[in-house]
């Protein structure tokens, strides 16, 4: 058995979400209504109060604990003087990674990646997604991973396309945002495709 660390990469570390400390930051991201929509799921998108964020994540953490229906991680930047990593849990949360709607029987789940600000997205989104995929395929042994992205969120579509996801479903006019209806896109990545990409990267 080779023990590859699952919860850290070159610049990032996955940690538990500390709701007392992190809720305020997460709530501040919900002025971006696409983010609010993903947190509030079928409820209308609107900015969320800190206590709501706290309640929501408490519910999700409980679900995760009770039936393993989802996994939630805070994304943080690794500290510069990273001797044993103990200082990292103190560093500010920059995003949330969520593997959800897990169908254990079929080895299928959805992945959602939220990164609070544009600059962090540019710099770290790809790295965070790779952490999520490694966890989904290597640790959870999933066969496939799905990402649901509103058509207007092109930055996010581009990220998943770059990670070799395939556009599989286009639900016509299933999203309303900024004055009009947009399609809802479903991207999928299959285990063999992910393995192949890894092999290609090793060979390169």
């Amino acid at each position: 058995m080779k023990f590859n660390p699952l919860f850290e990469s070159q610049h990032l570390r996955l940690t538990p979400i500390d709701l007392d400390k992190d809720s305020q930051m997460i709530a501040s991201w919900t002025y971006e209504l696409d983010t609010a929509a993903r947190l509030r799921e079928e409820q209308p998108a609107r900015p969320m109060a800190v206590f709501e964020v706290k309640k929501l994540y408490e519910r999700w953490q409980k679900e995760s604990d009770e039936n393993r229906g989802q996994y939630l991680f805070a994304i943080r930047k690794r500290g510069s003087e990273d001797g044993n990593g103990s200082g990292d849990a103190e560093s500010e949360i920059i995003g949330v990674l969520r593997v959800k709607d897990i169908e254990w029987v079929h080895g299928a789940a959805y992945i959602d990646l939220i990164i609070g600000n544009e600059h962090d997205w540019q710099e770290f989104a790809r790295e965070a997604l790779e952490l999520g995929l490694r966890f989904a395929f290597d640790e959870m042994n999933l066969f496939r991973v799905t990402a649901v992205i509103a058509e207007h969120n092109q930055t996010m579509s581009r990220l998943f396309e770059q990670a070799n996801f395939t556009l599989e479903v286009r639900q016509r006019q299933a999203v309303y945002w900024n004055k009009r209806a947009w399609d809802k896109l479903y991207f999928g990545l299959l285990r063999p495709e992910w393995k192949m990409r890894q092999m290609a990267e090793v060979n390169a």
Partner: protein, 189 residues
């Protein structure tokens, strides 16, 4: 709007009564094929009491109807709307005919028209969505008859008996349904 809006030529949609109707659902579940066509979870044999409790708990967010024959008022299936997105005007529909001897006779198509009429003309939805398993060809054809179009497939999404199958997404927009419904009504007369 009155009860006739929920009444078709051979069937009607009735409010699902958890007290009265759960026992029948438990009985249908004994046919594992029915469950494998309807649901992705491992087939399970819940008691009528468990089913009743679950449906009552979600009664506000899942609009449940029973499908009943006009002839003898026998309950032969269920249909529901859930996952409402009131901003986009989208909801998800699920449907099952529990009596295998009634499969392939158009009862599901008729019930789907009734629930779509309710969804579009009363709830003011813009579109209705569903998913269907690749191996459920009969349902797929029935959905096409009520105006649903395939919108893509999550490849190899589920595993049954060691084989993997796609999860097919379908959707119908209001005007697409209207067109089909008009044609359907004409065929009925």
């Amino acid at each position: 709007m009155n009860a006739s809006a929920f009444t078709g030529k051979r069937i009607r949609l009735a409010v699902f009564d958890p007290e009265r109707d759960s026992e029948k659902m438990a009985r249908w579940n004994q046919n594992s094929q029915y469950q494998q066509l309807l649901d992705s979870g491992p087939s399970n044999l819940f008691t009528p009491a468990q089913i009743k409790e679950w449906i009552e708990k979600h009664y506000d967010e899942i609009y449940n109807f029973s499908i009943r024959l006009l002839d003898d008022d026998r309950m032969v299936g269920i249909v529901d709307l859930s996952g409402f997105d009131w901003t986009a005007g989208n909801a998800w529909v699920g449907i099952g005919i529990g009596e295998p001897d009634l499969w392939g006779k158009g009862y599901g198509t008729e019930a789907m028209h009734l629930i779509l009429r309710f969804a579009f003309e009363e709830l003011n939805l813009k579109r209705v969505s569903l998913t269907v398993f690749e191996y459920n060809e009969r349902a797929y054809q029935s959905y096409k008859k009520t105006g649903f179009r395939e919108e893509g497939r999550l490849r190899q999404w589920l595993q049954r008996g060691g084989e993997r199958y796609d999860l097919i997404f379908m959707g119908v927009l209001r005007d697409e349904w209207e067109e089909c419904y008009r044609r359907y009504l004409m065929e009925q007369t």
